[in-house]
Amino acid sequence: EAGVAQSPRYKIIEKRQSVAFWCNPISGHATLYWYQQILGQGPKLLIQFQNNGVVDDSQLPKDRFSAERLKGVDSTLKIQPAKLEDSAVYLCASSFSLGADTQYFGPGTRLTVL
């Protein structure tokens, strides 16, 4: 069974530029999560989708971050404009259901903002 796919794996941008990350969850998983992991910290939830609807985006900095999952499968996370403090690994995870279910993580995208 294929795991969670993410691209790109690495991205370097200048501050104030925009960037987008893509995620394809495990087939059949209805719930998709985006996490931000700053070096030396645990992952922090940014947004959670159930199919194509947002369940929880309380920790998403909405002035610069946006995410969508239009067809209920793959998802895109965008940052516009990027700040230095956005440098982190962005992890996508998916789970079969909305409850306290096992989340499977993708390899992540390492973003460096200069």
Partner: protein, 113 residues
């Protein structure tokens, strides 16, 4: 609120045992344990649901004391492959049928020959 993990770091020799603790101030529904190696994604180890159960596979097991809002991960007869950072994630109901997973800062485990 972020769960608190202890210790922050531990160094073991192969074959030694270790315990990693995770505690929360919130009422928990479940505790999830992950291991992350440098530059890789977190890998799921196990999930413990409310009910005080203990789970394990191979030489890694965990317990969940829901009254104390605490969980412990037990690694016995450690192997070099156990090296990595261990995260506990605690889930609590966040509304609309959803449970938000909040991760601790991690415990760095190094196993040396």
């Amino acid at each position: 609120q972020q769960p608190v993990q202890s210790p922050q770091a531990v160094i073991l020799r192969e074959g030694e045992d270790a315990v990693i603790n995770c505690s929360s101030s919130k009422a928990l529904y479940s505790v999830h344990w992950y291991r992350q190696k440098h530059g890789e994604a977190p890998v799921f180890l196990m999930i413990l649901l409310k009910g005080g159960e203990q789970k394990g596979h191979d030489k890694i097991s965990a317990s969940f004391n829901e009254k104390k809002q605490q969980s412990s991960l037990y690694l016995t007869a450690s192997q070099l492959s156990y090296s990595g950072t261990y995260f506990c994630g605690t889930s609590a109901y966040s509304g609309a049928g959803s449970y938000q997973l909040t991760f601790g800062k991690g415990t760095k485990l190094s196993v040396i020959p």
